[in-house]
Symmetry: C2
Subunit: 367 residues, 2 copies
């Protein structure tokens, strides 16, 4: 193998492929990046089996070939080299030489034959969506995935098509996040993608309107975006029937300024941190929501102006769950729907009907 | 106690006083900030005994008094409050109320009587130096203090006046850092200030030409800068006689481009990390310095153009010590002086004679 490539281009492609390298694999070859040099391009691949990332760049290939290089040290070396042409070639059977200006590195490489094959996915594009929108949908749901493995299916995000909508859903037993976007497809999808891999996907997606093409197989999902392909395994098992959890009716409806309410709850939660309860109480009155909390350190009372339709209500929450939702929503005004002091609260945008958040209240002893 | 104060001013003064609060004290009162309201000003004090910081701000005092408030929660609350007038007053004998717009906090306070008195220092200003210059001198030496307590005196930085110069010196047994500035004083100073407290002092010093006044007592140093006073205890014992360590003669002298050499050594050190030796070898030749390193992962050869006066030399270093020095020097060109492959290397600015760095070499088995 023998090729030259601009430092900046090589650095970016390593950074992409490296997102699939966890450095925790028991297979040494998975701590490396597979580099294949054929025709006029390099293909870099990183994988931890659950997640594989493959990215292509143009390069001047002087001799074709493939090798595996330790991802960490290779990434560090390329990043530290000057912004100039880098020349890489194999020497001595088990090493590569990296040349750039007056720098010369010799690095032991691993065998490309030991690198596991990527799942073979027939790229029948199932649907296509702008990167910016998918990135936003992931961000708007992934925080609600379960962080422990008690019920593995809850550590993932459901991708589901329904009535020409793509829905992403996450829930962890205490709260639920649902983001929807109109999608021009007749295909039926119902797959759960691990939150861990989706987090890396989200880092690669850009804030632009270029499309990402998505293909499902029974066990995998493939994201194709330009020169990069991301393959994640799916979680096994059925997702919770989440629609039955979301209340369709309510007794009272609150319209609030999102940022003002967020600030009030964040301040109130400073007191709630002591003892790790995070408990804040909401007194919903005619024109204001009174937020209180207390601990050994003292007490706090906050007040946010609201519009109330329905009867006043007292209800308590883990402040973290409310804060997570209020931070992720991007409209100026939000709507909160309540049925009773022990029923879930539904939080939505006031204008745009593209998200639904649900938070379970904390049952107080005196209720 | 009862006063009002603008949020931004109060927040900044808490942030300053808080730098002396470690949160690790066995005296609960030292987790707090002492607030004294007298006349038309508030005095906020934080202390961990070794380091005390006192800062004054103007406030509208409605009723005089003094209390101690937990620094962490008080700082968090004030930071999260809206940018507006904050009203603080004592209630119920053991609490304070914090009011701002529609927010109301009640916080338990501690007794001001339990807060230790600051050392009584007669403010005979001993010398005065622009904040920017002192900040720079601290930054240029503190990295070379010892990080373990084997010889406690080495965890501090020596402040010494000599021949109308202020010298700051730190050394840890492997390297030495000396920064000098001309100072218009006849006073003789020779005191060692703990690196830990000096680090906090450095954060408070600003990048401007306002003077900081410095007073020494047998056990303490006082930095006065505008509304803020910082008092640190001194380390006991005599500092190493460092002048005898710095060689006054040399056999060869290298003039090098600082940034180019830094980049070469940083890249070479990527290979030196494996096995934690950090070992890089320097081959000093007529017009270039060849830097090499190797480990199980492979080898690296770097080359930096230099001007050499004297005979070629081979010498090896812990790359970290060279990198620390090359990062801290701010001139384009540096001078390195060597005597032999087993003698210390002295590194200086090429132009400005205001710093001297010394690094011990690593003795190689084949020398």
């Amino acid at each position: 193998m023998n090729f030259t490539c601009e430092k900046s281009i090589l650095q970016e492609s390593i950074s992409t492929a490296q997102k699939a390298v966890t450095g925790k694999s028991t297979m040494p070859v998975l701590n490396g990046i597979l580099i294949k040099a054929y025709g006029d391009e390099l293909i870099l691949t990183g994988s931890d089996i659950d997640l594989s990332i493959e990215t292509k760049i143009k390069a001047n290939i002087l001799e074709e070939g493939k090798i595996v290089i330790d991802a960490k040290i290779f990434g560090e070396i390329i990043r530290k080299l000057p912004n100039d042409l880098i020349h890489i070639n194999t020497i001595d059977g088990n090493s590569i030489e990296i040349l750039c200006q007056k720098s010369r590195f010799t690095l032991i490489h691993m065998n490309a034959e030991d690198f596991p094959d990527l799942p073979n996915i027939n790229e029948n594009m199932i649907f296509s969506i702008p990167q910016r929108i998918l990135k936003n949908m992931i961000k708007g749901t992934i925080f609600a995935t379960a962080q422990d493995d008690t019920r593995p299916i809850l550590t993932g995000v459901l991708f589901e098509t329904k009535n020409r909508n793509l829905n992403l859903v996450a829930l962890d037993g205490y709260r639920l996040a649902l983001k929807s976007e109109i999608l021009d497809t007749d295909n039926t999808i119902n797959a759960v993608i691990p939150g861990k891999t989706l987090n890396e996907v989200s880092k690669i997606l850009e804030e632009n309107d270029d499309n990402v093409n998505i293909t499902f197989t029974p066990n995998h999902i493939l994201f194709s975006l330009g020169a990069t392909k991301i393959i994640s395994r799916l979680l096994e098992g059925d997702f919770i029937k989440y629609r039955s959890i979301i209340p369709s009716e309510y007794n009272l409806k609150v319209t609030a300024n999102r940022l003002d309410l967020l600030n009030c709850i964040e301040r109130a939660s400073l007191m709630a941190k002591d003892g790790n309860t995070n408990l804040v109480k909401l007194n919903i009155e005619d024109e204001s929501m009174i937020i209180t909390s207390n601990s050994q350190l003292g007490m706090v009372r906050e007040e946010s102006s609201i519009i109330l339709q329905g009867e006043p209500l007292q209800i308590a929450f883990n402040s973290k769950y409310l804060i997570d939702v209020l931070k992720i929503i991007d409209e100026v005004e939000i709507v909160m729907e309540f049925s009773s002091g022990v029923s879930p609260c539904v939080i939505k945008n006031k204008e745009n009907d593209n998200c639904t958040y649900l938070v379970l209240p904390v049952r107080l002893l005196n209720h």
